[in-house]
């Protein structure tokens, strides 16, 4: 008797637009959404389920495992059902000790392990249209303190797409695509939460629709003020905070949908220009720089299989320097 009740309560918090996905994606998403009701002791469980639901390739074994995991988490968490904004200190593993403690290789007062933990915890859910065929990338990230007084941190996610499909009106196809997102989060004494999100959308180019979004303007995946949802335009990778805003972008020629999603990897911290950790990143025989305003981002074109037909994307640092990176 108890099981259906628990299950039904969990379903309350499903974002019904997930229904747009395929059957497996939907159900996997639904089980990932179960987590929204219950504070977890570790975000890794939630990340596991979110990544399981990323594609439509779950095997029966992973499928059953995800159901079992979600059910177990649900039952274990019953009785602590109220939610708070963002992630707890226990979930992230860091609080005020993120500042001025331990290894700080990039000299920004933040502990490197804390930077990694925060980037992983807040990595956004990036949705794509089924027509997307250039979503491959080698994401990198950077984090920096916005001050201990505000307990605020900025996290930049460099999506680093290998190519721009150029299928839609506007800028032609080219190697590399230097779109990005920046989250500003803060620690309120108990929880970490998102305050602002900047999404690049053809920044400094035609159809520039880059924008700072306040947390009240963002759609959330599972965790309110935790996992922001980003809509990436089909093969152009311009980022928007809503499907409808995307679809009306660039003379109405952008197209977004919630067909499948990616969560950027967060195991490559490039640091900042005043403390670079990965000044040059090699992939195959090609090199990219995240700190050279004159080095266009070419998506490691020689290492990839892309066929350039209009050069490369703008230099990452030409954008990120404007944000103090």
């Amino acid at each position: 008797m108890a099981a259906p009740f628990i299950f039904s309560f969990c379903i309350v918090n499903i974002d019904y637009s997930v229904l747009q996905g395929t059957g497996k994606t939907y159900l996997a998403g639904a089980f990932a959404e179960l987590l929204c009701v219950f504070p977890l002791t570790s975000l890794s469980q939630a990340h596991t389920l979110r990544r399981l639901s990323q594609g439509d390739t779950m095997t029966n074994r992973t499928w059953i495992a995800s159901i079992a995991a979600a059910a177990a988490i649900t039952i274990c968490s019953w009785g602590t059902s109220a939610r708070a904004d963002g992630f707890t200190q226990a979930q992230v593993g860091w609080g005020t000790n993120c500042w001025n403690s331990g290894n700080d290789s990039d000299g920004d007062t933040l502990n490197q392990s804390c930077e990694q933990a925060l980037a992983a915890a807040f990595a956004p859910t990036v949705w794509f249209d089924n027509g997307e065929d250039t979503s491959a990338g080698v994401p990198h990230f950077a984090a920096k303190s916005l001050g201990f007084a505000a307990k605020a941190v900025s996290i930049a996610y460099y999506f680093s797409y290998l190519k721009d499909g150029g299928a839609l009106f506007g800028i032609g196809a080219h190697d590399g695509d230097s779109e990005f997102a920046i989250l500003e989060i803060h620690f309120d004494g108990a929880n970490w939460m998102v305050d602002w999100m900047y999404l690049s959308a053809h920044r400094k180019a035609t159809c520039d629709a880059s924008f700072w979004y306040h947390f009240t303007q963002i759609e959330w995946d599972t965790y309110y003020r935790g996992w922001a949802m980003v809509y990436s335009s089909e093969n152009k990778h311009a980022n928007y905070a809503s499907d409808s805003t995307c679809d009306s972008g660039c003379l109405g020629d952008e197209n977004c949908d919630r067909d499948f999603f990616q969560v950027p990897e967060t195991n490559r911290n490039v640091g900042q220009s005043f403390g670079p950790l990965l000044p040059v990143v090699q992939l195959g025989s090609a090199f990219e720089s995240y700190f050279d305003v004159n080095k266009k981002f070419c998506g490691w074109q020689r290492a990839g299989a892309s066929t350039s037909h209009d050069g490369c994307a703008g230099a990452y640092h030409d954008h990120l320097k404007d944000f103090g990176y």
């Binding site: 379903i11 309350v12 708070a84 707890t88 400094k204 306040h214 009240t216 805003t245």
Partner: protein, 397 residues
């Protein structure tokens, strides 16, 4: 397995809907909900968890702040003062958000100072940076909210330059939904408002947008544009929006809500290239549409146009793209200074067949400084032309 799961989800969703309605007791009154056609994120009703490191008293003193935020607070002399401190609703309802705002005067430090709010709610202390903050109290009562202007000194030492406490009385507005409320969706300076009535109405809405403008509408939804150009980067400005409508019994229903606008700073861009596309004319002999294109470059170094693209958008969002030479894309009538030109753009009837929604052209080149230059125009859009008969008649605009 899969079918069983689907059935379970369907049944569970139905039960969940009932539970949802009974637990929430009405919708949130978020003054700036998520901008999406999708369901907005849910507010968090009900008791909040005890998440803080330790329960804190309703009164907030420096010792509690120092303990929870792991700081050493130091009073610092300064020229900044807190000129105003308030909420957008003097008596907010329990369970509904209210916006807090402060205004500073004097030496505000050119970005070196941090404004922050600190309150004790749901048995824990919370800190929110910023000159504005959204506060939600789950239970009625008096809530002291501390506002501070601070700056980092060194390590965990925080200098307090100014502070004041706002006493906010949160009242019980009942558990049911209000008879009328306003939903706002804001993007840039454009706001879409919808009046949501929980009781029958006679229709005929009267709106006040808080900026001196008002409007009457037959339906419950209106759109209004606010000026945001003078706002600085992420500076916030709020407007109090009100709507009135007569209930079916003649009672006047009124609802108010705050709408928050956020300033944006555009990145520096190359000077614009001026382009003007003339009206379309139908050439019966050639069975084609033609438009005059004028391009003027008054600010950038000389531009050399190198290639073009024509993209055809079909129903179903399918796009067909073609690479063209400049001569294929344009019939140049006159070359002007610095890459300016006058040309004819042609779209044949064959290109505008059934299922074609729009044609977009792109022209690419580089200026003498090596910077990329591009132009975009839409020579044909189905929405601008009467689709039948073929050949099409004159465009509607």
């Amino acid at each position: 397995m899969k079918r069983a799961a689907w059935v379970a989800v369907t049944v569970a969703a139905a039960v969940a809907l009932v539970l949802l309605m009974s637990r929430r007791g009405g919708s949130s009154d978020d003054p700036a909900p998520a901008v999406s056609s999708k369901p907005p994120p849910a507010e968090r009703p009900g008791p909040a968890p005890q998440l803080g490191p330790a329960p804190v008293p309703a009164a907030i003193d420096d010792a509690v702040i120092a303990q929870v935020l792991d700081e050493e607070l130091v009073a610092v002399a300064s020229g900044v003062t807190i000129a105003e401190l308030g909420a957008d609703d003097a008596k907010p309802c329990a369970g509904r958000p209210v916006w807090l705002r402060a205004r500073l005067e004097g030496d505000t430090g050119e970005g070196r100072l941090v404004s922050r709010w600190i309150w004790a709610s749901e048995q824990r202390l919370s800190m929110q940076p910023g000159a504005t903050a959204r506060f939600t109290a789950q239970a009625p009562g008096r809530y002291p909210i501390r506002f501070q202007v601070v700056r980092s000194i060194e390590g965990k030492r925080i200098g307090v330059l100014a502070e004041r406490t706002l006493e906010l009385d949160v009242v019980d507005c009942g558990s049911g939904p209000p008879p009328l409320r306003v939903e706002a969706k804001v993007m840039g300076g454009r706001a879409n408002f919808t009046a949501l009535a929980a009781v029958p109405t006679r229709g005929g809405y009267r709106w006040e947008f808080g900026d001196g403008e008002d409007q009457a509408s037959d339906g419950p939804s209106v759109r209004h544009d606010y000026p945001i150009l003078e706002l600085r980067d992420r500076e916030q400005r709020s407007y109090r929006v009100a709507v009135e409508v007569a209930g079916a019994d003649g009672t006047l229903l009124r609802a108010t809500s705050s709408v928050i606008l956020y300033g944006q700073v555009s990145p520096p861009r190359p000077p614009a290239i001026a382009a003007e596309l003339g009206d379309a004319t139908w050439d019966e002999a050639g069975r084609r549409w033609q438009r005059r294109l004028e391009v003027d470059n008054r600010e950038r170094p000389v531009i050399t146009w190198e290639r073009g693209e024509r993209h055809t958008l079909h129903d179903g969002d399918r796009v067909a793209s073609r690479n063209l030479t400049v001569a294929e894309l344009l019939t140049i009538i006159e070359n002007r200074a610095a890459g300016g030109l006058v040309a004819t753009v042609t779209v044949t009837a064959a290109e505008t067949g059934p299922g074609v929604r729009r044609i977009t052209d792109r022209l690419f080149g580089h200026d003498a400084a090596g910077e990329e230059a591009s132009l975009t125009w839409v020579p044909w859009d189905r929405d601008d032309f009467d689709p039948d008969p073929v050949p099409p008649v004159a465009p509607r605009r």
